[in-house]
């Protein structure tokens, strides 16, 4: 055998092994399922494809959970995993899904909104594939996803993404970003169909409040806040003030810019009667100047570089040796959601939305997120859902 052929075989074996191992891990990540246990409040589970065309049978289709009280009242929709690399959103929505009991009105939850993004990984950014939350029955494992949908589900990207219907030019990547494709269209790209179906849900179910949960860098000014358009501003402001006074954490209000299109807090308000809100909690993991992108950084938010930068006044949130633990971020989201419902009820008693059996900030921080997750091995089969 000539030397050249020997080299070729060696190279094929070497790179082939790397490709096979890495490829299998990525394949498993895409197909990994996290069981969701429907809690006592869940009354119905639908698919988003029930509301819009083009999703049925695709990986993009996703579960929609209804928690409906016997007494009619206001309707709130919680959307999580719009960006699947901001996992406090998913965890917060699952706390509601597995625990909440609605006494008046209806709560609708889409915990894995961009399901394709949740099954995608972010090339070049070195994320872990999974993260685990400790519970009293063991660890619950979740996929770490990406900000945008997978090209396996929507390919190619355009050279420039022209937003519908405003014709604003956005980055080519944003055609897979479900916080740029609102309000969507029925015959557009897959992610536009996804947001269109969500808009149809909001319109057909006469949803009053929509809360889209996110996370943002500590070095980004729009973090630790509630983003709201003009029509939601009063409730957002009251929520922010009450949270500061009663629960002691900051959550300032940012106005939704009218000139930047495709965002949930802008388009949902403009294309339906609902009041949209977007919640941001600090996510040090997404910051650029951090150490290794580990599961620990994701869950605890402790980083030596950010600590130094904080002392130089370069961060937009308070930051100390304790970092920004996930329980703090999830706790903030839980309190903010409950407070928005409360403020809405106060202003619209005829459309009251009363949610019980859901923890607030201090309880989540004290008890840990995992204490609110049910053991799937002990749950009834009909209560377990996969996307």
């Amino acid at each position: 055998m000539s030397r050249i052929i020997a080299y070729k075989i060696l190279l094929v074996l070497f790179i082939g092994t790397i490709t096979l191992i890495g490829g299998l891990q990525l394949y498993h990540h895409r197909h990994f399922q996290t069981p969701i246990v429907a809690g006592p409040g869940v009354t119905e589970v639908k698919k988003l494809s029930d509301y819009g065309p083009g999703l049925d049978g695709t990986i993009t289709d996703t579960n929609v959970f209804f928690l409906k009280a016997e007494q009619e009242g206001g309707k709130m929709l919680i959307i999580a995993n719009t960006h699947s690399n901001e996992p406090a959103a998913l965890l917060s929505s699952l706390i509601f899904l597995e625990n909440a009991v609605v006494e008046k009105g209806t709560l609708i939850i889409i915990p894995q909104f961009n399901n394709s993004g949740g099954r995608n990984t972010r090339s070049g950014d070195g994320y872990p594939l999974y993260f685990e939350i400790k519970t009293h029955w063991g660890k619950k494992r979740f996929r770490m996803g990406n900000r945008v949908a997978s090209p396996l589900d929507q390919w190619p990207d355009p050279d420039v993404y022209v937003h519908y219907p405003d014709r604003q030019l956005l980055s080519y990547l944003d055609i897979r970003n479900t916080n740029r494709t609102w309000p969507g269209r029925p015959d557009g790209a897959l992610m536009e169909k996804l947001t269109y179906a969500a808009m149809e849900l909001i319109r057909k179910e006469n949803v009053d409040l929509v809360i889209d949960i996110h996370g943002a860098e500590t070095m980004f000014p729009v973090t630790n806040c509630i983003v709201a358009p003009e029509k939601s501003m009063r409730i957002a402001t009251m929520t922010s003030l009450t949270l500061k006074a009663m629960e002691g954490f900051d959550n300032h209000v940012e106005p939704s810019p009218s000139g930047f299109r495709g965002l949930s807090h802008r388009e949902i308000g403009d294309f339906s009667d609902a009041l949209p809100f977007l919640l941001e909690a600090p996510l040090p993991f997404l910051d650029q100047p951090t150490g290794p992108k580990t599961e620990d950084l994701l869950l605890n938010g402790k980083d030596p570089f950010l600590l130094k930068l904080s002392k130089k006044g370069k961060l937009f949130v308070p930051y100390d040796e304790n970092g920004w633990p996930m329980s703090k971020r999830v706790g903030q989201h839980c309190s903010a959601v409950l407070e928005i419902a409360k403020q809405f009820t106060r202003k619209n008693p005829e459309k009251a939305l009363l949610i019980s059996n859901t923890p607030r900030y201090k309880q989540v921080v004290k008890n840990g997120i995992g204490s609110y997750f049910k053991d799937p091995s002990k749950a009834k089969k009909e209560n377990i859902f996969h996307n």
Binding site: V162, R167, G291
Partner: protein, 437 residues
Amino acid sequence: MQTQIVFTFLVMISAYSFAKWRKVSVEISMFLAALAGGIFGAFTKTPPINQLARHLVEGSFAYLDVILIFVTATIFMAIISESGGVNYVVKNTIKYFYNKRLIALLLLMFITLIPGALTGAGSVSLLVVGAPVALALGYLGIKRRKVAAILFIIAGLSAAAPPVNIWAMILSAGTAIPYVGFELPLGIPVLLLGTFTVLTLGWKKQEKSTLESALKQMPQVPKGMKWWRVLIPFLVFFGLVIALRVWPFTLPVIGLPFQFVISAVFALILSPKKINIVKLSRDTVKKLTPLLSTMVAVGMLQQIMTATGVRGLISYAVISTPLILLFVSLAVIIPVSEGVFTYGGAAIIGIPLVWFLDSIGLHATVAIAGLSLLWPLGDGLPPTALIGRLSVMVSEYKRSYWSFLKSTWIPWVVITVVGLLMVIFSTQLDFLVKWSL
């Protein structure tokens, strides 16, 4: 943790330097640096060893779409060249404008700008139109050293020119800034600096020649080649670009690679001579291999640097540098990073830099445009010197590489100053972005 990160960085630098010392190509050296960094990082589980293969594989995807653009655009340009279209245009430029030096120089500049602007790679400009343009510049009485200098600068500017600018694409993707509104912030400086370069280096006629002898020596154009055969494939491409923007809600998204494929089919049909497309594609991919493997290796390097914390360390260093020192040092750091990592420089230094510039209130799009004028200069610097070496090769300049590089100093300095001023005054120049939209 910080000591571990610094050591990982040192291991990566050592692996890269060792590989270069052993005469390994830049692309493979970057791959080996990523591998070494990943293995060293695994000692502290950053990343865990069982995730190393996945990180390398995942990183290789970072620029897959850019790879497809490179390949399809270059095959398209190669068909135009193989059909005789490039020689036809260059020959006619000389024929009709030999005595109108300004027009001839500007036309040759445009011809060199187009392939790089469409593909984002200055090397494609040189591979496709470099040789005939070098000949034409020679017939205009310009010495070979200056011909090489002109080609180097214009090919570099062509890579920065819109619509495809890989540095800007990497930076936009890495910083979540839309890759839109770059047409004027890139197009205007590229045209002005290109014109300045061809006039500074090419205005003076240094060698004697006549039109007749020039035309005689130029490569033969295949019989039947007509202007419309060259023009139509380009009209198809730009027609598609425009149509997709005018009717975005009726036409499906087809992406740049498929747009180039459609244009290539037109070029193939309109070619006056038969072209073996499989052979041409094979040869094109062979020529493009260093560029394509660079994109794969850069993605891997970027992924490992992030997973180990090295990118965070560099980012921290950038943010902690005093602003004035940072601006001044960009004139050196940016080209040197390109010389060492080619497009990797944009990912490693550029992304943290743009994050920082954005956070202090500069206009990110204009700042990226300014920076992406500086990166191509690095393509003349060792160890890669990709565009520099190609420029010397196609212009058949035989003396030392440094003497060629020295002759580029005037446009080099002017481009650096313009690029830096665009970064510093990006907020004042934001109207260029608004006018582009």
